[in-house]
């Protein structure tokens, strides 16, 4: 940061006289603290380092959450007739979000997400890849793309793309990039006393037992001797070494939540979602570029409001704790947090059998929360009509969001990805029609 400042000064020194230099020095002295910041902004753009995607699997109900419609009547609101007034004037969110309401300055709400797809699989594909479905190319998820693009810079032993606690079962996350770019799913229960992480932390064995077994394996595994020089066999030896440095090494501790205080653990909520969000924070502290917290149970065709009474407070607690914690630790600026599902749910409640008070899939208009990593806070993007049934202002398509996220991560969206049979293909598959492009979310990106 000092270098540009010094260069500027020497250039001036060559050109201007001593008196001018004196006054300039004073000015420079006064601006001393501001200049480095300025130089940083203009010459070296700071990019986000990580993404935490809190994925609400099944499709969460936007009108009960970030886009409440209290005036639409009980056919629409169900029992949730009130709203929470936030700390940002003019922004109200659902009544079940009191904690998030206190920190609306930390995030933005997109109320005009739309893709019009009502099937889980296709919608999941679209939201996690940010690409239009169709054609013959099946794209990788954003996590796989970021893991691929960050290969040169991220050298940690923890995989670059982690899912807590399961990966997507709706589509193939790795797309054409191949299975090595699929997310590493931890499995296990972060909310339990001992969080077992598939392959890394196995609580049924002590380190001594692990070492003993390793010795036995090494003694018996002589197949390479018959096939010296075989690359696949040599690779396996290499991978086993790497694996053991993780299994018996220091880095596995990132998953040990007992290193966190009880106060912090309680703040996130001692349930799967809350503790997964806490693990996510620990992972991005280690530099892991993409973490998905996949939370199920949002596909509420039936008993919708009963389920929401359980799920919404959990989400309120976990998400607010995550944003606060990231902010307290100075990590929010370098961490993008997004929260949403594959689609929303029908704004009108289905009171008729067999639903008896449920909400179905709704891809026409739904909400996403975005925060940190180059997003400003305290803004709402777009709007829906008074019943929440269609987007009436600034539609945001999935590709608008993915383009924004890639850009904030410093990844050129005009770049390409290597397809095994098609050669280099565009980063995103975008629709041709102009009306299906909302454009990047520049209105909520920091300048």
């Amino acid at each position: 940061m000092k270098k540009p400042k010094f260069n500027t000064r020497t250039q001036y020194m060559n050109r201007i006289n001593f008196f001018r230099l004196c006054s300039l020095t004073v000015v420079l002295f006064l601006l001393g603290t501001l200049l480095p910041l300025k130089a940083q902004q203009t010459t070296e753009k700071r990019y986000a380092k990580s993404v935490i995607f809190v994925y609400l699997d099944g499709g969460p109900a936007q009108t009960d959450m970030f886009d409440p419609k209290p005036k639409a009547g009980k056919d629409y609101t169900g029992p949730f007739v009130k709203t929470s007034v936030t700390n940002v004037p003019g922004i109200e969110i659902g009544e079940k979000f009191p904690l998030l309401a206190k920190m609306a300055d930390k995030y933005c709400i997109i109320r005009s997400m739309t893709h019009g797809i009502n099937g889980h699989e296709t919608a999941n594909y679209v939201m996690e890849t940010g690409s239009l479905p169709g054609g013959r190319i099946v794209y990788p998820s954003m996590g796989a793309v970021i893991a691929f693009k960050k290969e040169a810079t991220y050298k940690g032993s923890i995989p670059a793309y982690v899912s807590l606690t399961t990966g997507s079962t709706r589509f193939n996350e790795a797309g054409f990039l191949g299975p090595q770019y699929k997310s590493f799913a931890t499995g296990g229960s972060p909310e339990s006393a001992q969080f077992s992480v598939e392959g890394i932390v196995n609580n049924s064995y002590s380190d001594d037992q692990l070492k003993n077994r390793k010795k036995l394996l090494n003694a018996l595994d002589n197949f390479s001797d018959l096939n010296p020089g075989n690359k696949q066999l040599a690779d396996m030896d290499k991978y086993q070494q790497q694996a053991y440095s993780l299994i018996l090494g220091e880095d596995r501790k990132v998953f040990n939540l007992n290193e966190e205080s009880d106060a912090i653990r309680s703040r996130y909520g001692k349930n799967r979602l809350g503790q997964s969000c806490l693990v996510a924070r620990r992972l991005i502290q280690k530099g892991v570029p993409y973490v998905v917290v996949r939370n199920g149970g949002w596909d509420t065709h039936k008993q919708h409001f009963e389920r929401m009474n359980e799920k919404l407070p959990e989400l309120d607690q976990a998400l607010s704790a995550l944003l606060q914690d990231l902010s307290d630790k100075g990590l929010l600026d370098e961490t993008i947090v997004i929260c949403g599902g594959e689609f929303g749910r029908t704004p009108k409640v289905l009171y008729e059998p067999p639903w008896n008070g449920g909400r179905n899939h709704f891809g026409a208009a739904f909400s996403y929360l975005v925060a940190g990593g180059g997003f400003v806070g305290g803004k709402v993007v777009g709007a829906t009509d008074p019943r929440g049934e269609k987007v009436i202002e600034r539609p945001v398509f999935p590709w608008d969001l993915s383009e924004t996220i890639y850009t904030l991560m410093g990844i050129d969206t005009k770049g390409t990805l290597p397809h095994p049979t098609e050669g280099e293909v565009p980063m995103l598959f975008l629709p041709q029609e102009k009306e299906k492009r909302g454009g990047m979310l520049t209105e909520i990106m920091k300048p």
Partner: protein, 521 residues
């Protein structure tokens, strides 16, 4: 020396007369001649390239390789023990025949064809579960009855009707975008080994075949998710003559099903692609590398590594009425297939001429099934579509999963194909660090082993430690242990104070993590 081996091999084959039905004597003699000619094609090429072939593999290696390659499963302890101990010079030939006639072969072929035809109930194919089931049942019946390949393809491509009742029509539904261009590209890839980017000498490519699919129409019915695929003959051809890749001209007649003209051209004996692509694909399935490689990349600038061999197999396929099992039998009985994976000084860098068997990691399904078999702890497979979820029967094997949408994270981690595309490379058998982590230290694997009732009862029943070790070797690696291995295991059993079940678990775990287990060799 070499000559004598060939001769004895031929005489062995001839002496298997009773195994071959129909025109017994003659056909057995013909068959062994054919096998010898196949090996001759390979050997000539090796000599030309100054390569020495590796020796034949041992019986235990042969049995494991054969079982995995054509049925997707490891031999059982009984099978392995019996086969190794059997003194019968014909035992390999008999084993090949019995496995080719087993359900395992049919299942494994359905898996391969499911991959090629992108059989999947949701995204991106959206076939829907009922249609997937019907489609797979159709494949299974065709394969079980060994329907000649040209007939199989004709049935598949000239089909019209309901996705539930005429399952073959699902060929035309397995597309994200159902337009003539996509369909013709898929057609060319699967049956002509021709990629969309390829253009041939006469500057023709897959897209030029589009007009043959221009009459396809789709229509929903009253039944949920039922869809009719039909041909609208009133759609007149955009062009009345198409110059095909290779130069033939095919005429398109108004008011006819245009697909018939295409299939007639494709399955004609003089077609330069059809038979060649299929025999090369079978070769790829068995040898791990095509004579033209990749097997779906036929183009002028990618010539076969052994043109005589490819032509020979193509002619055999045609002469035997497109009998797929015949080609399998021919290749499996060859010395080329039965060579050891252990390379010699002259051939260790050979990747293209089939001088030795190419080792490859067990496929996702093979590996998971093998671990389930060893521990007798099956996986649970279930379909998320439609709701409410459907659970498959407890003993379902991964190779039996007909629907690409039914999957587990582990299968995907080990490179099970997404069925998004029809390339053979969609199946990824590369080993990764995540896979090694999973095998070494996941709770899924250790639980399967530690909680295995089967392993516990083996430990209880077999009290002599040496015998238990032998049993475990047969179970996991399908062979008897060497005496050095037995003593390493015995040492481990006695040196640390562990309960006997833990000893068994640890040995099974170590063998599952050994290269000998993870690779077909």
């Amino acid at each position: 020396m070499k000559k004598r081996t060939v001769l004895s091999f031929i005489s062995l084959l001839i002496s298997t007369l009773p195994l071959f039905s129909q025109n017994q004597k003659e056909s057995a003699q013909d068959f062994s001649n054919s096998v010898a000619r196949l090996d001759g094609c390979v050997d000539n090429n090796l000599t030309k390239n100054n390569l020495k072939a590796s020796a034949l593999c041992s019986d235990e290696v042969f049995l494991r390789r054969l079982s995995l390659d054509i049925t997707g499963r490891q031999p059982t302890v009984n099978d392995a023990q019996k086969f190794i101990e059997l003194h019968d010079p014909l035992k390999r030939i008999k084993k090949i025949d019995s496995l080719l006639n087993s359900d395992g072969f049919v299942e494994y072929q359905v898996l391969k064809w499911g991959d090629l035809l992108r059989c999947k109930s949701e995204f991106p194919s959206n076939l829907w579960p009922n249609a997937v089931q019907a489609y797979s049942r159709w494949m299974k019946e065709s394969i079980r009855n060994n329907v000649p390949y040209d007939q199989f393809v004709r049935d598949l491509l000239i089909s019209s009707g309901s996705n539930f009742r005429v399952p073959e029509v699902n060929f035309y539904r397995a597309f994200q975008t159902r337009d003539a261009k996509n369909i013709s590209e898929s057609f060319a890839l699967i049956f002509m080994g021709m990629r969309p980017s390829t253009s041939f000498g006469n500057n023709k490519s897959a897209a030029d075949l589009g007009p043959f699919f221009s009459q396809l129409k789709y229509k929903k019915s009253e039944e949920w998710k039922e869809e009719f695929v039909y041909i609208d003959k009133d759609v007149s051809p955009k062009v009345y003559s198409v110059t095909m890749p290779g130069g033939d001209k095919v005429t398109l007649k108004a008011n006819t099903d245009l697909r018939v003209a295409l299939v007639d051209w494709l399955t004609a004996k003089q077609n330069p692609y059809f038979a060649k692509v299929m025999v090369n694909r079978i070769w790829f399935w068995l040898m791990g590398r095509g004579i033209v490689n990749e097997p779906d990349d036929f183009r002028d600038s990618n010539p076969p590594s052994n043109p005589e061999l490819l032509t020979f197999l193509e002619n055999e396929f045609k002469a035997h009425n497109y009998d797929v099992r015949y080609i399998f039998r021919l290749i499996l009985n060859s010395r080329t297939y039965q060579r050891s994976a252990i390379a010699n000084e002259s051939n260790k860098t050979d990747e293209t001429f089939f001088s030795h068997y190419r080792i490859h990691r067990l496929t996702a399904e093979q590996l998971i099934d093998a671990i389930c078999d060893i521990t007798d702890a099956p996986e649970t497979y279930w379909s998320r579509v439609p709701e409410p979820f459907t659970f498959l029967p407890k003993d379902t094997r991964a190779v039996q999963l007909e629907d690409g949408t039914i999957s587990t994270p582990v299968l995907e981690m080990f490179g099970r194909p997404s069925r998004d595309i029809s390339y053979e490379s969609d199946r990824n058998n590369n080993l990764t660090m995540k896979q090694v982590l999973y095998l070494l230290n996941s709770t899924q694997i250790t639980d399967k082993i530690n909680k295995s009732k089967k392993l516990r009862s083996l430990t209880d029943q077999i009290t002599v430690k040496e015998k238990l070790i032998t049993e475990i070797y047969l179970l996991v690696l399908n062979r008897f242990p060497l005496s050095s291995e037995t003593s390493i295991a015995l040492n481990y059993f006695t040196e640390t104070k562990k309960d006997k079940y833990q000893n068994t678990s640890d040995l099974v775990w170590a063998l599952i993590n050994s290269k000998e287990f993870l690779f077909v060799h």
